[in-house]
Assembly symmetry: C2
Homo-oligomer: 233 residues x 2
């Protein structure tokens, strides 16, 4: 089966967590909205599906239409060996993913603390305050947590790669893009997860994907945005 991934065509965004899992799994998929006529199909499903997603990304797997990033990963994980089949380990993997999702949402709100419906320029003073707190308090709390969870091991859960490892890679990538100065200052504190980031990037399928045209660049339209005033020296 060829999956159909539906996500905004010009940004990594939350769709990227799904792309990374599909790429690592070697699962055939079409990034629908990047194809001709794809945006129309995406909007039709958003507006007309029997079980409509609230927002992209969503994945069409045969008759199944699955929304919410962590939920899509729950599905891919179970069907493509990217999550343990054991209940306890599966729940733990999903728990880590949901914690990563919380970090992603907070990273987004650093540049949109007031409203997604407003431009950054309309909330940049508030963004400066929120980003300062995010860098000072939230990144250390989340990174410290994942560093503790990872310990000396190769992967977050047991001895095998899971979708949570891929997602943690993506968050660290995104935060490096958005807050290069802050991350350069704290990198030495998190040797485990920063090492994980490098190991994920070097996996053959991920390395091939990152070097391909399928990997969109980070930009100031996505979740992780670099605004110099939010990342002071």
């Amino acid at each position: 089966m060829t999956y159909e991934l539906f996500y905004w065509p010009s940004i990594q965004g939350r769709g990227e967590f799904v792309r990374l899992a599909l790429e690592e799994a070697g699962a055939p998929y079409v990034d629908v909205a990047r194809e001709s006529g794809g945006m129309e199909r995406m909007m039709e499903l958003l507006n007309g599906a029997r079980r409509p997603p609230f927002a992209p990304p969503f994945l069409k797997a045969g008759e199944l239409l699955i929304g919410q990033t962590a939920n899509i990963l729950l599905f891919i994980g179970q069907h493509h060996g990217l999550a343990p089949l054991d209940e306890a380990d599966g729940l733990w993997t999903h728990q880590l993913q949901l914690t990563i999702a919380d970090l992603v949402a907070e990273a987004h709100d650093t540049h949109h603390p007031i409203a997604g419906s407003l431009y950054y320029e309309d909330q940049k003073d508030e963004a400066k305050r929120r980003a300062a707190d995010f860098v000072a308090n939230r990144i250390p709390k989340f990174f410290g947590y994942f560093e503790r969870v990872l310990g000396e091991r190769e992967f977050l859960v047991g001895d095998h790669l899971t979708y949570a490892d891929l997602s943690l890679f993506q968050v660290i990538e995104g935060l490096h893009y958005a807050f290069p100065r802050a991350l350069a200052r704290c990198g030495g504190d998190y040797p485990g997860i920063f090492g994980l980031r490098e190991r994920i990037a070097a996996r053959p399928r991920i390395a091939a994907y990152l070097a391909s045209g399928r990997r969109l660049p980070f930009s100031e339209e996505g979740i992780f945005r670099h605004y110099a005033q939010l990342d002071p020296a």
Copy 2:
């Protein structure tokens, strides 16, 4: 087995979504941090568990320690008949729960748009801006979505109650507490989900719970807070 729920002892917060599911399931549980010595045990597990939760709530089920509200509900749903066992319906239920979780996070940020580490009073101007957008744009988007999903049916998923129904009840309750004026203005637009709220409240086990001392009151320490300046006429 008697479950042990760990959550802050003086607020409903995210723990309330778990309490409602346990109460409806008739599952025996102890609300640990409300018992003598319970806070110490909660902090010990947060700091010392082999697989530590990032934050409360978390549920101890025998040897399992499960964190992240939606993940706990995934577990309770499967073990206590509060979610479909079929894969497609189970994923759809979880998808709805994760969308509710997004709404909960946005409701929280109306009073804390800058930082959870600051008092409301330190960000009340920003809160006023964010709450205005939340009421004008986000509540209609989320409520309109769930109204569409529910349609004319009795429950969100199929013909049976799920944890997503209980959680939607709780969000509507919370938003009524926080934004009574805004909700009074828009109530007529959402007859389906507002009816669902009443049906859930009238279920025997939920009604008994809501009338008991186990149900903590809403307050200005929780997720849903009533500040008159955030809910203007």
